[in-house]
Assembly symmetry: C3
Homo-oligomer: 437 residues x 3
């Protein structure tokens, strides 16, 4: 367990895993009722969450919103009439966006439509075919190996037809219109770390943000389907996002017990990058720093050159980097309530860093006399000064140019601690604090 300070308004024990248990069985995709149903469960926690529907066929930059997919049932009967693959047993058994079908075919023909993982014989892989009409089933290698010769029946009862794509967002106002943006995606069927952890952690982070007595920044939460949803969101909010977002995060893979990790922005030098590095160095100094080139989620859209939002992704075990990724093994046993709470706490620290950042400027020429203000032990000599080192170091570095994030990083101290010291010194008129424009 990391030692990230717990904030007021934090989730109750097992509240996060409880929400995961409720959402897990639902078959979500990038469109359809599974996504809607999941979003409305999150809305119970975030009543202000606005639900948007965008019609199939809508042009979205280089893309088009696809038809809506709704699945009712799907199975494969073997030559003996037994259901050897059954969507109702695990929704990963069906290739996402499979078109409806009802057909008899040989095992050989069927094999063309099957997906399994020889090197993970007990895992059902996660496969989709959003933009090319197709159908298919996924199964464990062991299941596949036991299929007998003969005539099979495949049955997929699905609608794949014009409808709409659904997403939710929430804007939590602050003192300024400048925004901090959290985006997460809810389009994966029954998998836990990637991806129920992202929307769950984001939901509880948003609840905490709503409960803050004061917010400097406006906070924007988007819960979208991955890729096409992020593009839709950009398409509908591009000017605002470009103009106002000062820092943002793609929240994903935040539920397992792996080490924290970071995807920086393209330049690696935005405010989000500085905040992420500061907070991770303070609270998870062994974090894994990936390259921007290892990105593979919605920062692909948000950080693309013509969009260029200052976004990072703070994760636990990153997609593509753990064996259970995109298989049925990424299940509820793979995530924990405690890990998701830690992830909430880590993002809270990012928020506190953003909220607390400012420009400080010492007010006295030379050091102030701390003793006469009760800020210093008055008997010098052997006395340890560790208790006042934050005060004197903060004053020494408060040159009116470095921001508090720089100073805290240089001092190796959490900015949240220095915010408290800065306020104390401001009250004693020993420094002035300027908000960063």
């Amino acid at each position: 367990m990391l030692r990230i300070p717990v904030q007021e308004n934090d989730p109750q024990p097992d509240e996060l895993i409880g929400l995961a248990q409720r959402l897990f069985p639902i078959c979500r995709s990038i469109t359809g009722n599974g996504f809607r149903q999941s979003l409305s469960i999150l809305q119970e926690h975030l009543p202000g969450l606005r639900i948007h529907e965008v019609a199939s066929g809508t042009k979205v930059f280089d893309w088009t919103v696809p038809d809506e997919w709704n699945i009712r049932d799907a199975y494969v009967l073997d030559p003996l009439g037994q259901k050897v693959i059954d969507f109702k047993q695990h929704n990963l058994h069906l290739v996402g966006y499979s078109e409806p079908i009802s057909k008899k075919l040989s095992l050989q023909e069927l094999q063309q439509h099957l997906h399994s993982l020889p090197d993970k014989p007990d895992a059902i892989p996660y496969v989709t075919s959003y933009y090319k009409r197709a159908w298919g089933f996924c199964l464990t290698q062991r299941q596949r190996d036991s299929l007998i010769d003969g005539e099979y029946t495949v049955f997929i009862d699905a609608d794949l037809a014009p409808g709409s794509l659904t997403y939710g967002d929430l804007v939590i106002p602050g003192a300024v219109k400048d925004e901090v943006f959290f985006s997460t995606y809810l389009c994966h069927p029954s998998m836990a770390n990637n991806e129920l952890s992202g929307p769950i952690v984001t939901t509880f982070l948003a609840k905490w943000l709503l409960g803050l007595p004061h917010r400097h920044f406006t906070y924007r939460i988007a819960i979208v389907p991955e890729t096409i949803g992020a593009l839709v969101y950009l398409n509908q909010n591009l000017r605002t996002l470009r103009k106002r977002v000062k820092a943002g995060y793609v929240v994903t893979c935040v539920g397992d017990t792996g080490e924290f990790s970071l995807i920086p922005s393209r330049t690696g030098a935005t405010l989000a990058d500085r905040v992420s590095q500061h907070v991770l160095n303070q609270f998870a100094p062994d974090y894994v720093r990936y390259s921007f080139l290892q990105r593979a989620s919605d920062e692909r859209q948000y950080c693309s050159p013509l969009v260029d939002l200052p976004m990072n992704s703070i994760m636990r075990s990153k997609y593509h980097e753990y064996a259970e990724y995109h298989t049925s093994l990424d299940n509820l046993d793979f995530i924990t309530d405690a890990s998701m709470r830690e992830s909430v706490a880590m993002y809270q620290q990012c928020v506190l860093a953003l909220e607390g950042n400012c420009i400080t400027r010492a007010s006295t020429i030379g050091e102030p006399q701390l003793g006469k203000r009760g800020l210093y032990p008055t008997t010098g000599g052997q006395v340890q000064q560790s208790d006042v080192s934050d005060i004197v170091d903060l004053l020494a570095l408060s040159d009116g140019q470095s921001d508090l994030l720089d100073i805290a990083t240089r001092m190796g101290r959490p900015i949240s601690e220095l915010v408290r010291i800065a306020e104390l010194l401001r009250q004693h008129q020993l420094l002035t604090i300027k908000t960063i424009k």
Copy 2:
């Protein structure tokens, strides 16, 4: 022994330790006759040293010059009437700035006023109480453990009353008004490395500066009480210092045999920083580089944000970093004449680097023909070129933009050597030299 070149005018053998022996017994503090007496001994070496008195009560930025403290005698009698603590045996026995007292009290009451170091049982600690009226005695842990129960008598015969704070300074003119500033402090009672070494080394450095046939810079020497004296000095010279000081040093802890060490300025990028790093890399490449945050002497004032002088501190064993620090163990056995001479030599190299720095520009297109000028072996082939490598490398890097300090650092050669080569090349009209404004 380091191989720092010895300069003309260098101190005679044992001259520095001799001065230390004379100054050591005097009980100095931030005000009072001990400081005055010590300053007047230094004046014997530096007749031009100006003595300044600043009245108690004078406002100095956020501070006020305290009352003057003069101590005549102080002791503690045990229940048997024996002097168990005696200021006359060691002036560290008395807490600096103790108010006068004559009183009987129990051992238990006395303990509230005693200071000792359980982990250094034979050391008397150095304790002061400048800005809060108090009294106290310091003793070794062994002494303290042997105190018997009963009624004690404490006696402190001191004046703590309006008077003045004393400091000395000396401005040694050069060709330009731009200044190099050396500040040291003389306010510690009987301790050797911290702090008699600073004023002693500074005094002999100043003597050498006075003897230089030519000085480009004006040199300013200040010998002050620590903290309040530096603030007084800033208060009385702020505009001049801010405008003219191009590089400066707080000279302290330069007497022991420890490795050289460096406190950089806040930015770490001033001329002083470049000079310090160059000189230390050349003559003490294993030097310890501290962070600016480990500063704890008068650079706290000189480098504070609204003052912002380009100052460093080149030390041997840094305050807080050696076991004997601020105790009776920091005595004359802890420092050596040779170490102080090396420290003088190191600061001389800093002066030579500052004096010799310039912008050089090659005069020929392509390399010059050194052979026809007697600057090159005329038979090529296997001939080693090490003897002319300084010449050709200096010419190759003399682009009219880099300064000689940059070039020397890049070449890994002492700038003082390259000054000589540059002058040789200038005489042969192979490069031009421009003073740095």
Copy 3:
């Protein structure tokens, strides 16, 4: 053997070593018929090579073109009349630019004119005396040790008289007048790595350049005597070179089997430096990076401050850094055809990097939909994306500011690969390509 892609038009097997075998026996110097004869052999490969003659006595910046030296015969007869040193056996036996002489003298007198290497007893050293009239002989230490006492006869049949210095150059036009400059030197007598490899590799590089269907840059080839020839070349072309050369290389020591190595430019930050580092990192990641201060060939002239061309030197075993350097041991056994071909290939990669460099800018907001263009596997999920990672990463980094060299370096991919990808994406209208001015 390195895995540097072979280009069309590459030399035939043994073509390079064959040329070396032909050139090796000729006694070249910085002037004279040996240089002319060698140049005319290279002209067989490069008919466009222009031959220039510059009269002795011509002023060249700080230098003067020396008299022309032509040698017919030279030997030493021992007291028994035996030819103990014979120029016709190895032209290194004679000190380059020896004046004519015919004289009898004692062994003791002769010793003043002999050069040998005690630590390399089987090597004849390479010695010259271009700018001071002298004569001398070089021999192995074993030969020297066996000389007997008595009267010796020395005979040097040479002309050292006004004539001219010869060099060749070739300008291969491209789409723009901006130039890439390759300079090499041909003035060494019978030595192989330093220096026949440079002119040979340069000649075959030039042949390949001439065969390129399109050239963006104009390419300039200079084959000069070292130092004085480079100065002459600068003297005659200074304005053009300064104005047009965007990157250049001194081609030397490119024939042995040692690791590749690099001499950067003075700043280490020119286009040539960026190209060299990119190409070497891709194709010879263990290359030796020397400091500019270890330069010792014609970059001494080309990179001198008032000339300041952006030139590097990519070598194999660098002069001064291998035992055989400047001795008779640097012979045809020390170089290989394969090594010289690799060196041609490495410089070809530099050319391809220079030709391919450009500014790319993504055209779509967000990522484009690759699938509908046949650029992406349409079935997502477990599918490996390695085959499209170049495409998505190049698009993600194509911000219209970084050049392709930066992007390729960041991606750790050869720029020549990315040129192909960029062109593919341009054809799909997914990015625009801007030539670098």
